[in-house]
Amino acid sequence: MSFRNAPLAVIHDVDKDTLFTPEIRAEIDRHVAKYPPEWKQSAVMPALTLVQDHNGGWLSRELMDQVAAYLDMPEVSVYEVATFYGMYDLEPVGRHKVCVCNSISCMLGGSEELMQHIEHKYNVAPGETTADGKFTFKEFECLGACRHAPAVMVDKTYHECVTPESFDKLIKKLD
């Protein structure tokens, strides 16, 4: 009896119609519909992404609990997903997210220097937000853009072959 064959469903004591907004619910439902009914938990990642996007880029515990309730999941299963993947943030973030790839190609291509540059110039360590709240600096696992290393993702846009100078220009353009 494995919870891989049949996921453990937990019915939460909440009225689902009070969770999120009707638009978010409709959007999550669209993802739920892609899976067999007993596997609606499979929609947890798009659901978290949606909820995060509507919450200024981060997930509070309450929001994760609500996703659990909406998808009839144990809360801890949602925490597992949200803590595993780098694209979910569990603390408030800056106006933008700047993700620098630290994996092998980018490292060889200069991402270590780039990160040092960011740390010193903007006075921000990986995982932190700049004092002015402009951006949150994240060290990221492979962005999958190895051929033009080093790669940086600003919000949802990829930038390749980034040097300290080109990085500064990118930041300047952000509001």
């Binding site: 009896m1 494995s2 937990v10 144990p74 801890v76």
Partner: protein
């Protein structure tokens, strides 16, 4: 799946079933493969990689070592568990596992019984090549039973899988990734499940250990004594780990037919009560200036004289005799023998029953109705009056397995029971339980005898009733349907009627019927004759004596109480205390001193508790399980059977010349040789009227919480600190609360006849309307009356109202 295939492991030819994993076959053959994440009772995770072996199929070697726990066998497969390649892979895995694992076994509680330590002795290197810093993980507080040291965790996820698959509550999880992965609840809350302690055994390292036990002993100082768990009718096989005459901890012993490899937390942690300050360690007698210690010789003479005087002056019928159903078979047998030897008849061990109208109809030896392991195979089960997770945790686990395999589990209870599997629940106030059963009987097409006919015909069958009836019928036709009566049914003033209806439903659907005996030896008490209407071997009595309640409603001049605390172990504590207080002589044989015993008894005789005496328990399935005493009782306490033997000799009764508990067992077994449990009723159940609550009153629902069930558990501090041990309170349905003008948290005075107690209100719609749930056997409940009976509730004005 039936065809057998042949594979070769380390040159040995082995038979295997297609689809089996290499490790299963190797285990069967006694070939050891190291492993951490694999456990035969859990799903396969294959995440530790310790079980890597070399394999080839059809002459073609697999390119890489394969995990034995997750590689299915194929015909002609050849496996090498100790080849160069396999050992290299295992050593490599070990080196990686030890990178982040502290190498400080001397200060780890698991040291000496750690799977990681053992395997690293075999596969580890003697010098670590790792010079970087090891990671450190913050501990989480999982509550009073389980200690954590998460830095030691090797991420095998056995504990996580146990929660999801066995307990059915997913509280633990693996959060984070890579170096940052952690096992925990993420939000730090107490793991609250009645089987949670099993993760201590499952954890291969010292990350999860027993909080009460840890750092009190080392594995190699302990001797393991086999025993049988004393708190429910499962009779779990356990091991007592003893050092210097003290039980240090309790572990399960494997027995697939009974407890598989699990035990409940109640069975695991109750041993703490053995060393409670409230243990009675010397015979005590009440004099003018209060309680005084005395010696066995004089106190037994005093007791013998006292009993003889009552018999001589008032007749043996003035003796009342109540024995805890968790006593050993030997004690129960000698107890009834002694009373009957004196000419008495009033003996009972059904302490939480108030309706005895079914005594004449009851089967001679009621039992579960089937072997414990067969519970899993049922396709439909109707539970009547049972909070089964609290009453019999491991039977609940078997039922859960049945439910997950698709069985219908229906419940008719005074409140909605918390379960971790799908179920059909029909909560109804105690007075309405019969009507719910009648509705199921009607839906099942039961005609009913004349007296039940009316009730069934007028019943109101809804969809759920019909669904339950249909499922029972279908399962009944296939021979795997079951109707079970539990402790809340037994405590009901309508127990006779509920039994009559249960038999009707079973008849109409072709299902088997079963009883959930309330205590470790309730079934044994029937074998031993510790009942007013049964002699040893469950033979009928010519003139039955008074049952447990009648002994108190028609007060006797003298009582013997065996293993009983009147305020907590009897169905109507207020009435019990009054009757006992008015008696001329009360002899209490007990392992614990309690205020209510001190108030009513004249002498207290210290007897051994569980683990301190040899004896026998007969479990729900009728298995007789003998056990030896593992430790000596404290102080002057003596095994109960010895006390009864000496008392029998002093009273010059015949047949008390036993040399050992074994002799007593054999004597009783000889009388039971042709007796087997059987649930066929011996007559029609008489049908009375239901006990509906009068206007303005509610029906109390006095369930016995899991950690209140007997004196030993009540004296076990860690269990008392768990969230499953709630203090005295009144639970009300929101509509009833509103009608009474009450809100969550209000203080109320509850009146039950002349009895009174104050407690806070909890509002919950788990409870059926018309009921008022007040747990029994918890501190404060001793002032109240019957576990199930009418109550009046009045608000106590608190400071807030002024």
């Amino acid at each position: 799946m039936s065809d057998k295939i042949t594979i070769e492991i380390d040159g040995r030819t082995c038979e295997a079933a297609p689809g089996e994993m290499i490790i299963t076959v190797a285990d069967r053959e006694g070939i050891s493969i190291p492993r951490f994440c694999y456990h035969e009772k859990l799903s396969i995770a294959a995440n530790c990689r310790m079980c890597l072996v070399e394999a080839e199929q059809g002459g073609r070697p697999f390119p890489k070592p394969v995990p034995a726990c997750a590689t299915p066998v194929g015909d002609g497969m050849k496996v090498q568990t100790r080849s160069r390649k396999a050992l290299d892979a295992q050593r490599g895995t070990m080196e990686f596992l030890l990178i982040n694992h502290p190498l400080d076994c001397p200060i780890c509680d698991q040291g000496g019984e750690c799977e990681l330590q053992d395997v690293s002795m075999g596969y580890g290197e003697d010098v670590s090549r790792f010079t970087e810093r090891k990671r450190v993980v913050k501990d989480e507080d999982l509550g009073p039973l389980i200690a954590t040291e998460m830095t030691r965790c090797i991420h095998c996820t056995r504990c996580v899988r146990f929660g999801a698959e066995i307990a059915g509550v997913r509280e633990l999880g693996a959060t984070g990734r890579g170096e940052d992965m952690r096992i925990g609840t993420f939000v730090a809350h107490t793991v609250a499940h009645e089987l949670s302690g099993n993760i201590i055994d499952l954890c291969p390292v010292g990350a999860l250990t027993s909080k009460p036990y840890r750092f009190t002993a080392r594995a190699w100082e302990l001797t393991a004594e086999p025993s049988i768990a004393p708190h429910d009718a499962v009779g779990s096989n356990i091991q007592l780990h003893v050092r210097n005459g003290r039980v240090m901890r309790v572990h399960p012993r494997d027995n697939e037919a009974i407890n598989e490899t699990w035990i409940s937390d109640r069975d695991r942690f109750s041993y703490e009560g053995l060393n409670a300050a409230s243990r009675l360690t010397a015979p005590m007698i009440k004099g003018d200036s209060g309680w005084a210690e005395t010696d066995w010789q004089s106190v037994l003479h005093w007791v013998a004289d006292g009993l003889q005087r009552v018999v001589a002056d008032s007749g043996a019928d003035q003796l009342g005799w109540l024995m805890a159903p968790g006593s050993t078979l030997e004690e129960l047998y000698l107890g009834q023998k002694l009373l009957r030897g004196l000419g008495g008849r009033n003996i009972d061990s059904r302490l939480r029953q108030q309706d005895f109208s079914g005594d004449a109809a009851d089967p001679a030896l009621p039992w579960l109705g089937l072997p414990i392991a067969d519970l899993e195979q049922q396709r439909a089960v109707l539970l009547i009056g049972s909070d089964i997770r609290q009453e019999q945790p491991l039977l609940a686990h078997r039922l859960r397995k049945a439910a997950l395999a698709g069985a219908m589990v229906g419940l008719v209870n005074p409140y909605r029971v918390e379960l971790t599997h799908p179920s059909r629940q029909l909560p109804a106030a105690p007075g309405r339980l019969a009507a719910e059963l009648a509705a199921i009987a009607k839906a099942a097409g039961a005609g009913g005898r004349s007296s039940l006919k009316g009730l069934i015909a007028t019943a109101d069958s809804g969809d759920v009733h019909a669904e339950i009836a249909a499922a029972l019928k279908q399962a009944g036709a296939d021979g795997n349907g079951l109707v079970l009566l539990g402790a809340l049914a037994e405590a009901s003033p309508d127990f006779g009627l509920l039994k009559a209806l249960a038999y009707q439903i079973a008849d109409a659907t072709g299902c088997r019927i079963g009883f959930l005996p309330p205590a470790a030896n309730s079934t044994g008490a029937a074998f031993a004759g510790a009942l007013p209407h049964r002699l040893p071997g469950a033979r009928a009595v010519d003139v039955p004596g008074l049952d447990a309640l009648a002994q108190l409603t028609e007060p006797r001049k003298a009582y013997v109480l065996w293993g009983i605390d009147p305020a907590h172990d009897l169905i109507d504590p207020a009435r019990a205390v009054a009757a006992l207080a008015g008696a001329d002589l009360v002899v209490a044989c007990t392992a614990f001193r309690t205020p209510s015993l001190e108030a009513v008894a004249d002498v207290l005789l210290p007897i051994s508790a569980f683990a301190e005496t040899s004896g026998t328990f007969v479990n729900a399935a009728g298995d007789w399980q003998r056990f030896q005493g593992a430790v000596a009782p404290p102080g002057d306490a003596r095994p109960g059977w010895k006390l009864l033997r000496v008392l029998g000799n002093m009273l010059e009764l015949t047949g008390f010349e036993y040399a050992s508990a074994r002799d007593i067992h054999d004597a009783l077994a000889a009388q039971c040789a042709d007796r087997a449990p059987d649930n066929t009723p011996r007559a029609e159940y008489p049908v009375g009227t239901t006990a509906e609550a009068a206007d303005g009153t509610l029906m109390r629902v006095g369930n016995v919480p899991i950690y209140a069930v007997d004196a030993l558990v009540r004296a076990a501090p860690a269990l008392q600190r768990t969230p499953l041990s709630a203090p005295l309170h009144l639970q009300l349905h929101p509509a009833d609360a509103e009608a009474l003008g009450l809100q969550d948290g209000d203080q109320v005075e509850v009146a039950q006849g002349p009895a009174r107690a104050c407690m806070p209100v909890h509002v919950s719609d788990d409870l059926a309307r018309g009921g008022g749930r007040i747990p029994a056997a918890v501190p404060g409940s001793g002032q109240l009356g019957a576990q199930i009976g009418p109550i009046r509730v009045a608000k106590v004005s608190g400071e807030n109202d002024q």
